[in-house]
């Protein structure tokens, strides 16, 4: 049977941590932008979407890793999509059982996790080639990175756009909310600002590393 080649990575702290920062799915790889921009208008929505995506990511990656020697490469994408859709359906029913209000707030974006590139990308690029334990740790890191990114947007947008954090008012009666922040353009504004900040930090770090190595900052 024509399977994908196995490449084994040794488990290390980097297996988990790279999803948080160096390979963050939102701030570095710019994947899964649809829910990132759409449901981050409040902190609670962002947290719920992040946890739901993490659950689907971890479960589907684990199953893909377990079945990696059994899935022929010709039907791998169809198999991954069915596996991902299964866990999305589980999350969908799970959220309805936990809270119908939360389910209403997240709208169609729960079902759309199926089409989230982060999950299919992990299945194809990592889980289908790696052993179970490294896949589990890596997908947990990626899920945590995705959730942190959503929270970064959701918190800023709720505080500026509604004057609250997790529904608790932060400012006095005189605070005039920046309504644009909880509307779709606000998602782009906040994402752009975070990307600007992270890229500035990365460039500064690179410049310092070059200076430390004795290379002039403007060289190359």
């Amino acid at each position: 049977m024509a399977n994908l080649p196995n490449t084994t990575e040794n488990l290390s702290l980097d297996t988990f941590v790279r999803g948080l920062w160096r390979e963050n799915p939102v701030f570095v790889m710019l994947l899964g932008m649809c829910p990132v921009l759409a449901v981050t208008n409040t902190t609670m929505n962002a947290l719920a979407m992040g946890l739901a995506t993490t659950f689907v990511l971890v479960c589907s990656s684990v199953l893909v890793s377990l079945l990696r020697n059994w899935i022929p490469k010709q039907v791998r994408i169809a198999s991954y999509i069915v596996i991902i859709a299964t866990f999305v359906t589980i999350v969908d029913y799970g959220i309805q059982a936990i809270s119908l209000e939360l389910y209403a707030a997240l709208g169609a974006f729960i079902q759309l996790i199926v089409a989230n590139c982060v999950i299919l990308g992990r299945a194809e690029a990592y889980a289908s080639k790696q052993r179970l334990h490294t896949t589990l740790i890596n997908s947990l890191g990626m899920g945590a990175g995705f959730t942190i990114a959503l929270l970064s947007l959701g918190t800023v947008r709720e505080v500026l756009g509604n004057g609250t954090l997790l529904g608790i008012p932060l400012f006095g009666e005189n605070f005039q909310p920046w309504v644009v922040m909880i509307l779709p353009p606000g998602g782009f504004f906040v994402l752009g600002t975070w990307l600007l900040l992270f890229n500035w930090l990365r460039l500064r770090k690179e410049r310092k590393a070059l200076q430390h190595a004795g290379v002039p900052a403007n060289a190359g």
């Binding site: 049977m1 024509a2 208008n41 409040t42 079945l67 059994w70 899935i71 022929p72 490469k73 010709q74 039907v75 169809a78 198999s79 069915v82 596996i83 859709a85 299964t86 359906t89 589980i90 029913y93 799970g94 309805q96 059982a97 809270s99 119908l100 209000e101 209403a104 707030a105 709208g107 756009g161 509604n162 909310p177 309504v179 909880i182 509307l183």
Partner: protein
């Protein structure tokens, strides 16, 4: 320029049977998991929906402590016995067993999608005494003010919904007016930032009330005969 050419080792072709077996196996596993989670969560979700609706009934009929399910059929109001088809309404009763009012559903298209409401109607004062949004995808912080803004919700504490002389519809259509320009008791004082959602609410209420309120007033004996349950 060096061009590196990698020759991939020829792999044996995958037999169709292996592909079929894999897809069938995964589909089978998927179906099993979905059925299990559906069966497990079905009663929990039904209970959540029941609780949500009941909470809404007591919210739109302030003071009510018990309720009776009713159906609106072609013949009029009737108790919701098994097999009775029709629009679902709720009669709410005070602690002393007197009728507090009737909760009825309404819906209209808002800014994003259809908004579903539950309104409370008091036949004694012929007025709307409460409102609750049951389902909405309106913009958080803007459109959802129709369910959260206390000043706007004051509109629905005693909104005039009297019948016309013939008893076939409302004497005055319920309409939304611009904020600060309300002059009549059947007008809803608008809310800035939620104009489309507010209009949808007024439209939904007016359409449903025009049909349902005449039947409620006509069949008050059915309401009085209904036995409240705790």
């Amino acid at each position: 320029m060096n061009i590196k050419v990698e020759v991939q080792a020829q792999q044996p072709a995958t037999p169709s049977w292996a592909m079929l077996r894999t897809l069938a196996g995964i589909a089978l596993l998927s179906g099993l998991l979905v059925v299990l989670i559906y069966q497990y969560t079905k009663p929990i979700i039904a209970e959540n929906q029941r609780v949500l609706t009941e909470q809404a009934v007591f919210e739109v009929l302030p003071g009510a402590v018990t309720k009776v399910d009713l159906r609106l059929t072609d013949a009029g109001l009737s108790p919701a016995d098994a097999g009775t088809e029709g629009l679902r309404l709720f009669a709410g009763f005070n602690a002393d067993g007197t009728l507090r009012g009737v909760a009825f559903p309404a819906a209209a298209r808002g800014y994003q999608d259809i908004i579903e409401f539950l309104f409370g109607y008091d036949p004694a004062c012929a007025c709307i005494i409460g409102s609750k949004v049951l389902r909405s995808t309106e913009t958080p912080g803007l459109g959802d003010k129709i369910d959260t803004d206390p000043a706007f919700l004051q509109n629905f504490e005693a909104l005039d919904a009297r019948l016309n002389a013939a008893g076939t519809g409302l004497a005055n259509a319920i309409v939304l007016v611009k904020h600060g320009t309300k002059t009549e008791p059947w007008q809803i004082d608008g809310i800035s930032g939620a104009t489309i959602s507010g209009n949808a609410m007024a439209r939904a209420l007016n359409q449903s009330a025009q049909q349902i309120v005449p039947v409620i007033q006509r069949d008050r004996d059915v309401l009085s005969a209904a036995t409240p349950r705790p």
